[in-house]
Symmetry: C2
Subunit: 307 residues, 2 copies
């Protein structure tokens, strides 16, 4: 980054999760002027190491003659993170900058905030990071009344109304898929390189209509491989269909009769979209990166206004 560009830096927007650190450099008009990332996620850092991990990515970008604001979301604000940013409790608007925790830093060029996550008391549930994606979506769609689905390792379904997160529910679907496909007796049965859309849809419908049989359907993949002629590609599609079908059955009170928008990685979001389509339900899909950046910018605009 040359000196001219360095002088334009007005805000660093940081998405700091368990496994990765991703940030965007923004100018005074909110335009992105650079991106950085590393694998120094919260999970691999002691509290004293966060500032170094951040500076490793932006040290050369920081102007020397002024203080640059940095706003962060994600697991960086968890109890095991840099500094705890206590959860807000639903029903609530997704946290903006006025709810952020100011973190003391050593480098005089930095002024740093961490946004809190959101919790729910009953049924107990938590999010950290997704609330900022929701804030980003609401910044662009302030009148949205419906459900946001955020597919991932721990997929979230959030009921949104009047600018607030009314309630939400997390499903361990992505983590179950990873455990079963990598660490279980199914690992050689579901390692197909291709995709079988029909097998996915049949398994999805099967799980939705008899979710109580899931632990048996899973073993059935192994048995089909041993005594039937199921390919690993069909196996993978069926495993995915069973698990997403189970989730859609459980999340039915969220999506039934609602407007649905999804924020997630394209490939995974497509599976949820396909699954909902089998139920005659359509959903728009939006980028995690775009929504996170939109949410961080919206949150910072309030920090700025309140200072």
């Amino acid at each position: 980054m040359n000196d001219t560009t360095r002088q334009k830096l007005a805000l660093v927007a940081v998405d700091w999760g368990t496994s990765n650190l991703r940030l965007t450099l923004l100018d005074n008009s909110g335009e992105a002027i650079g991106e950085r990332s590393s694998d120094r996620g919260m999970g691999s850092l002691e509290p004293s190491e966060f500032e170094d991990a951040l500076l490793e990515l932006i040290d050369e970008d920081l102007p020397q003659d002024k203080v640059t604001p940095v706003i962060c979301c994600g697991m960086v604000g968890s109890r095991q993170g840099w500094q705890e940013a206590s959860y807000l409790t639903v029903p609530c608007a997704p946290p903006d900058g006025t709810r952020a925790t100011r973190v003391a830093v050593n480098d005089p060029r930095l002024s740093l905030w961490i946004l809190p996550g959101v919790k729910q008391a009953r049924p107990a549930d938590v999010m950290r990071g997704e609330e900022t994606q929701i804030a980003g979506y609401l910044a662009q769609n302030p009148e949205f009344d419906g459900v946001l689905c955020l597919p991932g390792t721990h997929t979230k379904w959030a009921r949104i109304s009047a600018g607030e997160i009314v309630s939400f529910q997390t499903f361990m679907t992505g983590e179950l898929f990873a455990l079963l496909s990598k660490n279980s007796v199914l690992r050689h049965t579901v390692n197909g390189a291709n995709w079988d859309a029909q097998a996915f849809e049949e398994a999805l419908s099967d799980a939705m209509s008899r979710p109580q049989g899931i632990a048996s359907k899973l073993f059935g993949l192994r048995a089909e491989n041993l005594v039937g002629d199921m390919s690993p590609t069909q196996g993978k599609a069926r495993l995915s269909g069973y698990l997403i079908g189970l989730e859609l059955a459980g999340a039915r009170p969220y999506w039934l009769g609602m407007e649905i928008a999804m924020i997630g990685a394209p490939a995974l979001s497509k599976l949820y979209q396909d699954g909902l389509a089998v139920q005659g339900v359509s959903a728009s899909v939006h980028s995690v990166k775009d929504m996170t950046l939109s949410g961080l910018k919206a949150a910072y605009s309030v920090v700025k206004d309140s200072n």
Copy 2:
């Protein structure tokens, strides 16, 4: 073993699974005169290594002047085992010695058979080893008409009538519990040292009444630990209750209104027994080791008679 005992050896009964090799030495009247075991299960052996793994345990026990019969059940007969003993297909009586595969061995002191497993075409399912436990139970209870439940890593439910396995269904419950408690985000949440019977029963009932929510209930354990006051002991009991409750919901067509006998390890069988008791259903519990030995003896008696 002294020479006198060696002269009494009439049969070696072998339960050879994926992880372990366990055998019993029997005299001419079917009395156990010794036991041996090692961790040289099917999963760690090449076909050429099985005979050595067996001799390592019984070489000194074998009479020099005659041929000693050895009868085996379990994964030793799988495609990845010593030699494949092809599945029988339900409905069928559990395999006896006339259905066993004779395996050629190098040591002239041995004559060796492997019992086949049992498969089901639709829904696809397989068992290897459990069929011999079932044979053992039926040898002692020839008039049994009901359901056998065999709790384990892959729990089996088998409908038994007129001496035959009519149908069966396998649930991956035990493996799911192991994956979630050791390899998932829940691992620090469910590592309690004690037991909470009330938490188990509540979770079991919850999963039975809303099985479609299971992937959300699982994440709820993590959330309860973060924002609630759930202890790891309650977490473990609830994880177990959710998974066994899910299975009991799926296996309801098997156990509802039936006489139930269980063959399994005492601690795990107790959980299934407690879970069924919440549904007002009682079940007897029988030892895996006893039933396996009974089944191997019954199978061999037919080998002997037919020779």
